[in-house]
Symmetry: C2
Subunit: 319 residues, 2 copies
Amino acid sequence: MAVYTEVSDDALVTFLADYDIGDLVAFRGIAEGVENSNFSLKTTRGDFILTLYEKRVDPADLPWFLGLMEHLASHGITCPRPVAGRDGKALRRISGRHAAITTFLPGVWPRRVRPEHCGPVGAALASFHLAGAGYAPRRRNALGPEGWAPLLERSLPGAEGVHPGLGADLQAALDRILAAWPHGLPVGHIHADLFPDNVFFLDRKLSGLIDFYFAATDILAYDLAICLNAWCFEPDLSLNVTRARAMCRAYAAIRPLSAAERAALPVLCQGAAIRFALTRLYDWINTPAGALVTRKDPMEYVRRLRFHLAARNEHAYGL
Amino acid sequence: MAVYTEVSDDALVTFLADYDIGDLVAFRGIAEGVENSNFSLKTTRGDFILTLYEKRVDPADLPWFLGLMEHLASHGITCPRPVAGRDGKALRRISGRHAAITTFLPGVWPRRVRPEHCGPVGAALASFHLAGAGYAPRRRNALGPEGWAPLLERSLPGAEGVHPGLGADLQAALDRILAAWPHGLPVGHIHADLFPDNVFFLDRKLSGLIDFYFAATDILAYDLAICLNAWCFEPDLSLNVTRARAMCRAYAAIRPLSAAERAALPVLCQGAAIRFALTRLYDWINTPAGALVTRKDPMEYVRRLRFHLAARNEHAYGL
């Protein structure tokens, strides 16, 4: 579900009067995305997306996100481009929320990941990392390593109820990961949430990337580790090495991975797995009954974490 | 939320190969509608809606619904038109569900009802009733008067927990309504669910009607009574007589109301109010915690019911 805030027809007409994007033709809520309210907006000039930023997004970050999208779109990355109002501003307000219109991206996200998706995702991620280099402002990754211990602490009281021994397991894994966390690896802007529902394909080609609202400045290879977690596991939660190899090779063909980055891959993958295990665990414990959001099972990432903890080196990922 | 069944990209491509509607451009779940899964589908030929019929819809009724939409669209009613596959059939299967593609309707449903919406809704409803006359097959209204007593019976055990005395109040009201239910009024095909989210407006004109999956053959003026309930009450649940008068007059200008229909308006409105009170009460009691559907408060219709029970005659509605 992704409509938390309704937009009245009056408010919409008033809002659109501040843009030069044609007249309203249609407006429908989109049942995708979990953080913000998204609407498909059709005007006499074409298709757009209206996003209302909900409470999980810090308004202070919005100019950074929109600036990044604009920068990436201007540098060869197919992603939604913020559409400015007549006053030149893309970030506006409607129905008590910060909001922005972006361009519409053709494509369909893959409900079932196939090996042939993984190379294009690796290549797109590397292109994103290179294109992002020219965007000067930085954003701290609140869900990076510094954020994991506080997240775990807040979830520990409920962890035992999710799975016996889960809290102790996560605490031990986190201690190990933080002790081994690499320093000095190349840093840049990362997407940090490039899951299948954020990547569109059309005619078997990658047609665009969406949803930059977790993007931040962090270790570039950590973004690859997030994608390995998100795209390369089988439904039984074993790693598909063919997918992982395709993703890493396609990435490295565009942005070569240093020996240090390759060697760090197991711990980066451990970090990525624990990051999603921890946020899912927190949401699992704290989502009220009857909420509109489907809770995602944290154990799916705990199992990935176990795989990564057992990986001896980058060869486990086909490198 | 209105995506209960996911459609894999493979299944979608295979499904679309059976149509002559161009190539896939985009596919997004729509966060509207509560009974079925709806997707906005864009191809190189234009925009369409893909509906997957979920468990509340009886598959045996689907040909009737699609036939009605086709008939109405051919007779001047702006509504989604079923799109046939290459074999001439509109009703097909995808992802384990019966499914149909329909044409896309421009417009926006009014999130906030204004008096000027109500006349056009009355006129569109009357046009629908006239246009439906040439569609021969009939469909029994499972949520008509015969369905109310069984619905109440199944909700009685939980009614007291919703509001003290609610079960006894509804039982008394239902007895009174069924005893007074009119016979011999004109019958035809009714929409039976013409709420604001099923009516699109564009440039302040009504641009179309959607969601015919409660349509049935029943008393025509009962459909007007449903619309009076759905469109003409203030947020404080008092009737707005200006809206009701505008709706009834616009209706009668296209399909004149007989003296018997006018006289029956209070009991028809009571019936419409108890119908929605009962289905909402049933869902309220039986919706599991954590379900994706927002439960709607049955008391909103109990309060409307009280208004209608106190209405002495059709003058209460501005007639």
